[in-house]
């Protein structure tokens, strides 16, 4: 089946929601043909602002629009928004608590043709450390679309991480999503796989393979990296006694780190982290091959599960 990309789903959803809520605006930085904020721009030209290749400026203009009572969605590449424009996000969005929605596209390794300059593997570490910021990482295209109205209607800064690509489908459109509440996608008692973004589908596949070997893996989707669903994690730690995290991000500062913090304070249990092991990744011919080559394969998850079980 032809699963659409997350950015395609986002672009369509934003344009559709623009018809529902006249306070929603969109801004872009000469990347609307990539982020697909172009759909919104086509439908609502008077509510779309192309700021040119100037991410810091876009953040501040959006903060001003939010002060004026609007709900601006800013669109750009995750790598640039989360690095070049981080001070603007910190000061004018988080500290000033303006109602700006950051739609951070081309996240993770999804811009596989452009390489390490364009990859965004530290954005979650940066954004997670900012007070007032909510961080959401959808698992697939359908989920990305379902987040758009929720993000718009939540009053406060949100970072919505969007892949250029699609992902293995895990979300049934219309299934309720709740900010800050993780989801148990598969029951299991031997260990818990904790994943977000494109790694959710990969972990679902890993859980199947583990089941074939007689290992019962629970699968938690932590779509909200911040605030993290501490209760769901601690319950899984108590009930399964071992965990594996999986993320399309550096192992420093992202989901693995966040889960480690919760476990260390609340229920210390063996944990293995699947992620990019603190390195700059090469370009690739396609995303799946690149992710496999960068330590994010289904086999890596399976291997991590087997390692963690030996530490129980």
């Amino acid at each position: 089946m032809a699963e659409i990309s997350m950015r395609e789903a986002y672009g369509r959803a934003l344009a559709a929601y623009g018809g529902v809520n006249p306070r929603v605006l969109a801004l872009d930085v000469d990347t609307s043909a990539s982020t697909l904020s172009s759909y919104f721009a086509g439908q609502f030209p008077g509510r779309f602002f192309n700021i040119g290749i100037a991410e810091p400026c876009m953040v501040d203009v959006a903060a001003g629009l939010a002060l004026g009572g609007f709900i601006p969605f800013i669109n750009g590449f995750a790598s640039i928004l989360s690095l070049r424009a981080l001070e603007q996000i910190r000061t004018c969005v988080c500290y000033a608590r303006t109602n700006v929605k950051i739609a951070a596209s081309y996240a993770g390794l999804s811009d596989f043709k452009d390489g390490a300059t364009h990859y965004s593997i530290s954005d979650l570490a940066n954004l997670r450390a900012l007070p007032e910021m909510t961080v959401i990482v959808p698992a697939d295209a359908a989920e990305t679309a379902d987040w758009v109205p929720i993000v718009a209607e939540y009053d406060g800064p949100v970072y919505l991480r969007i892949s250029r690509a699609g992902a293995l489908p895990v979300h049934q459109a219309g299934t309720p999503l709740h900010l800050g509440k993780g989801r148990t996608l598969r029951a299991g008692g031997d260990l818990t796989l904790v994943a977000m973004g494109a790694m959710v589908g990969r972990c679902a596949e890993a859980a199947e393979q583990l089941a074939a070997r007689g290992i019962s893996a629970r699968l938690l989707e932590m779509h909200t990296l911040k605030p993290l669903d501490r209760d769901l994690l601690l319950q899984a730690a108590e009930e399964t006694g071992a965990l594996v995290t999986a993320e399309e991000h550096n192992i420093i500062g992202g989901l693995g780190s966040a889960v480690s913090e919760v476990l260390a304070e609340g229920s210390p249990k063996p944990l293995e982290r699947v992620g990019i092991r603190d390195r700059f990744c090469p370009t690739g011919r396609d995303l799946d091959t690149l992710m496999d080559a960068c330590g994010l394969s289904v086999a890596e998850v399976v291997a991590a599960a087997q390692r963690v079980l030996q530490r129980k």
Binding site: R47, G52, L65, G69, A96
Partner: protein, 280 residues
């Protein structure tokens, strides 16, 4: 455009003098702050808060009001003095300024100080923020105008010009920037640290309507701001030539007084020079 009456000029000059006095007392009492850039912008702030800005101190968030962003947030003492004298709060609220239980922060915080439209402190944000506020006013079809005060040293940062281009692209004639051009920054003269000239030419090249005034002449500042309200299809910038530390002989043009605090003796001399009658 009406010419300002002589009594209005005298009133604004007296307010500017009072704002200088308040600012120095606040900075001295707190033991921290930035006197030089507060003193240089006193007439600008007097004109803004007592001639230009349409605000209601009883309803600081009134829809359709004018907006002001202190992009050079270091001049917080001056802003607090202006807001207090305009009636947003009592200046005595700042008696414990600097203590952790004082709501008013070192730099302006929009949640903590009534009348502060936007949090500031780090330089560079004002023009782009003002662009967003001015766009919002246009989308809401409100007559609200947005004013941004920035420093000349601040214009060394690229985001100022990113914002300037964006405001010009959207022809925001409801946006006015005022550059407090005192030619002194922390490390020395602006023209030595990183030359900006031709500053007026840079703004003009970005598509702005440019006026240069003596920033200590309240009539010039007021009339230029009145004129800016009549400019159509482009934002306006006032380059206000000022003297850092204006009004206090030993502070004038001295980068030392960018961020140093007058001791009791220096404060007394400063207040004396500013014509303040002190008690005892």
């Amino acid at each position: 455009m009406a010419t300002l009456k002589p009594e209005k000029i005298i009133e604004l000059e007296e307010i500017a003098r009072s704002l200088r006095v308040d600012s120095l007392r606040l900075i001295h009492n707190r033991g921290a702050g930035h006197p030089g850039g507060a003193l240089s912008a006193a007439e600008i702030m007097a004109v803004l808060y007592f001639h230009v800005l349409r605000l209601d101190p009883a309803d600081p968030h009134q829809e359709g009001r004018d907006h002001f962003i202190l992009s050079k947030g270091h001049a917080s003492a001056l802003l607090y003095a202006a807001l207090a004298r305009r009636g947003f709060f009592a200046l005595s609220e700042l008696d414990n300024w600097g203590e952790v239980d004082c709501p008013h922060q070192g730099h302006p915080d929009r949640f903590k100080t009534p009348g502060v439209d936007m949090t500031s402190g780090l330089l560079g944000h004002g023009v782009a923020l003002g662009t967003g506020l001015a766009l919002a006013a246009r989308l809401k079809q409100q007559g609200s105008r947005t004013y941004v005060l920035l420093g000349d040293g601040e214009c060394q940062g690229g985001i100022v010009w990113e914002g300037a281009m964006a405001a010009a692209k959207y022809r925001l004639d409801n946006l006015v920037a005022i550059v407090d051009a005192n030619d002194v920054q922390l490390d020395g003269p602006v023209h030595e640290v990183m030359p900006l000239e031709p500053l007026a030419g840079k703004w003009a090249a970005c598509g702005w309507h440019v006026t240069e005034v003596n920033g200590h002449n309240v009539r010039q500042v007021a009339e230029a701001l009145d004129l800016a309200a009549q400019v159509h299809d482009r934002p306006s910038v006032l380059i206000a030539h000022t003297t850092k530390g204006r009004g206090v002989s030993f502070m004038e043009n001295q980068s030392y007084w960018h961020g140093n605090v007058p001791n009791a003796g220096q404060l007394a001399q400063a207040l004396h020079e500013l014509g303040e009658v002190t008690h005892g």
